[in-house]
């Protein structure tokens, strides 16, 4: 495929990207519609490109279940019933599958894979610290999300996996998670901690650290931690190797990243930072999707003049319009004209701000897509496909 032509043809569409990659990771700031965009991209790829497409959502708020009209999607992948496409008037070329990340379940399965024997496995699964790490504390989402992606990808069941990323404190956390996990298991401090308790007190270099740690956390807790990590140590090689493999997969050409944002000031700033970071890390920035963009007619210059006239000359206009309005009360007509005019001018301010923001987007990805503000929520396959057609760069059919 000649590259120049392709870029020209698909500059406003995700089509080429979704057809040529095996993994597409949707990322960006919170609240911009990442989950819906990922689901729409996957649904549309399944409908148009074909093959077996999986959307993997890692969001703990169980939103994809809503968006796909499916209850209780678990850790296991399930096919979205073809009927859901038929109801939207579409005969899909391929299959759409969906899965949601259950952090606890994923950790457990990871332990089962890597534990050297049944006893270690059971001891880890029963350890109170392990239960806390895997269940309660959110940092573990970041790692497990990427781990699970790796696992599903290596099973090779899908032609395309679209991943929605977890809402991290920092949008980059999930990228660093595998590396952090590997670092952590290789750290000298971890080795310090799991030396037998007695010899710790003898070791001059580390003694102050233990004295402090003892006073803060209590000896028993430290022992619990040590016990836990001694158990974990048995899985060290498997974990580190795995974490590195996850890292490699993200950097390969078969993986691409799509940054989703709105044109609001703060999210866009965050998204741009994220796009820059992807490029700096030599990861593939496939596209930027600008979501919930207000319609262009709000920036129509003559529109503003008309709106101002309606607002400022409402009284005169109300009188003149009375004959064509079937005897509506003039007072009501006046109010409607004023409100409609003012409302246009209000929305126009926001639309203009968005246009300025868009013009200032510094990073130039191969693909830049704008998705309009939908006036109703996207909650079913029909809605996803409608959104998807905009991701394919199509204008809506005239109504």
């Amino acid at each position: 495929m000649p590259k120049a032509r392709r870029a020209e043809d698909t500059a406003g569409s995700l089509d080429g990207l979704l057809a040529s990659r095996e993994i597409v990771v949707a990322c960006g700031p919170g609240g911009v519609g990442k989950t819906t965009t990922a689901a729409a991209a996957a649904a549309t790829a399944a409908a148009r490109i074909g093959g077996k497409v999986l959307v993997l959502t890692v969001d703990p708020a169980k939103r994809l279940a809503n968006a796909l009209g499916l209850d209780g999607i678990g850790n296991t992948e399930r096919q979205v019933p073809e009927d859901a496409f038929h109801n939207a008037g579409v005969r899909p070329a391929g299959e759409l599958w969906a899965a949601m990340l259950d952090t606890k379940e994923s950790w457990d399965s990871l332990i089962r894979t890597h534990a050297p024997d049944a006893r270690t496995r059971d001891e880890i699964l029963g350890n109170p610290l392990y239960r806390n790490i895997s269940g309660r504390f959110v940092q573990s989402h970041d790692y497990i999300a990427m781990e699970r992606l790796f696992e599903i990808h290596s099973e090779g069941d899908y032609d395309l996996i679209v991943v929605d990323t977890p809402p991290t404190r920092n949008a980059l956390d999930f990228l660093d998670a595998p590396e952090r996990m590997a670092d952590f298991f290789s750290s000298r401090l971890l080795r310090w901690l799991i030396v037998p308790y007695r010899s710790r007190l003898v070791n001059v270099a580390s003694r102050p650290f233990y004295q402090v740690a003892d006073r803060i956390l209590g000896t028993q807790f430290l022992e619990d931690i040590a016990q836990f990590f001694i158990l974990f140590q048995t899985m060290y090689d498997g974990f580190v190797e795995r974490a590195r493999a996850v890292q490699r997969l993200l950097a390969e050409r078969r993986t691409s990243f799509v940054v989703v944002s709105t044109l609001e000031v703060v999210p866009l700033r965050e998204a741009e930072f994220f796009a820059e970071q992807l490029v700096a890390r030599k990861l593939h920035l496939g596209a930027i999707v600008l979501n919930k963009v207000l319609p262009a007619y709000l920036r129509d210059p003559s529109g503003a003049e008309v709106a101002e006239a309606m607002r400022d000359r409402a009284t005169d206009l109300a009188g003149a319009l009375a004959p064509v309005l079937g005897g509506a009360e003039e007072r009501n007509v006046r109010r409607v004209l004023t409100e409609v005019g003012q409302s246009y001018l209000d929305y126009r301010v926001v639309a203009q701000r968005e246009a300025e923001q868009r013009a200032e987007v510094g990073t130039a990805p191969e693909v830049l897509v704008s998705v309009p503000f939908f006036d109703t929520d996207v909650y079913d396959v029909a809605g996803l496909l409608r959104l998807g057609s905009r991701l394919w760069g199509e204008e809506p059919r005239a109504t």
């Binding site: 939103r63 809402p167 404190r169 401090l189 609001e264 529109g303």
Partner: protein, 315 residues
């Protein structure tokens, strides 16, 4: 039901993108304007608070940024340093060597340590009465429960030691509705409303913190009264629109279409608002903030939001 401004510690959370930081800043600003010595703490340390308040970068040491309003950003390592200084007599900080690494290790190894250092610092400011009100720009909905439940979680894990003796008074402050309250910020949209109801349930079940208020941000104005909608429909008919175009000397269709968009948006959102009200405990107060059609952002916006918030709080 304790009024929001009469509490000592208010956590502000919400789904990403709903305006959580804006509301936290506005609440803190409003409290300060009402004469409360107020501390605003940004937990995520993204620097958004400084940008919204148009001030220099904030740090762990609180700094007065506006009259009566102090701002800081959480730094768990600095919090640990302060804690050690206050609680251990030995001048340990210099002696444990690379504190950063040791800390990173402890924080990763012992789940909840980062959370406890955050909550601990906030509770400490409350206990010492350094401020009348501490407003926390808290983690987003996905993370807040872990944060608020940290002292209890630590209590279950750690049976003895300094931390154990410390978590008891934190739990006491956090569980006291006269002192501590949670505010969830949302917008009248499907996903934020779902997440708000889900979070309200989890907060009640998994933490002892009182859900004080739900702030609904970006509420769109109602365009038409009862009879006016009919008038609008007639105005949209080709003959009326054409006549209007002649009278104003331009094509009115973009303007009419924009009004239709505004009406639909408002209507869809109203449904979500009803769903939210029905899904929340009737004790929970809902505060409404209007959508701001402005081109600026920063302190001017915060002042506008603060004044709307003040009205909603009955001032």
């Amino acid at each position: 039901m304790v009024a929001l401004l009469d509490r000592r510690l208010v956590f502000v959370t919400g789904k990403g993108g709903v305006g959580k930081t804006t509301v936290a800043c506005a609440l803190a600003l409003f409290a300060a304007e009402r004469g409360r010595r107020t501390l605003l703490c940004e937990v995520d340390a993204k620097g958004d608070v400084a940008s919204y308040l148009e001030t220099d970068e904030t740090s762990f040491t609180p700094r007065q940024v506006l009259p009566g309003l102090f701002a800081m950003s959480m730094d768990t390592e600095a919090s640990l340093r302060e804690y050690l200084k206050l609680n251990l007599r030995i001048p340990v900080v210099g002696r444990i060597g690379p504190l950063a690494r040791a800390f990173d290790f402890v924080a990763t190894a012992a789940p909840g340590v980062r959370e406890i250092l955050t909550v601990g610092k906030l509770c400490y400011e409350v206990r010492e009465r350094h401020y009348d009100l501490v407003v926390v720009d808290a983690p987003a909905t996905g993370h807040i429960v872990g944060q608020l439940a940290a002292p209890q979680a630590i209590n279950e894990l750690v049976k003895v030691g300094l931390i154990r003796s410390q978590t008891d008074w934190m739990v006491e402050i956090l569980s006291d509705p006269a002192r501590t309250g949670l505010v969830i910020v949302t917008t009248p949209e499907e996903m934020p409303v779902n997440e708000t109801m889900e979070l309200a349930g989890r907060v009640a079940k998994e933490t002892s913190v009182d859900l004080a208020d739900v702030v609904v941000n970006r509420v769109l104005p109602e365009l038409f009264g009862r009879n006016e909608e009919q008038v609008f429909e007639r105005l949209c008919r080709p003959d009326a629109a054409h006549r209007l175009g002649e009278l104003v000397g331009g094509d009115p269709r973009p303007v009419l279409e924009a009004a239709r968009l505004a009406v639909t948006l408002r209507r869809t959102r109203a449904e979500h608002l009803e769903r939210l009200r029905a899904g929340l405990d009737s004790e929970v107060q809902m505060l409404y903030l209007p959508f701001l059609f402005t081109r600026f952002h920063g302190l001017r916006t915060i002042r506008q939001v603060a004044s709307s918030l003040g009205e909603e709080l009955g001032f």
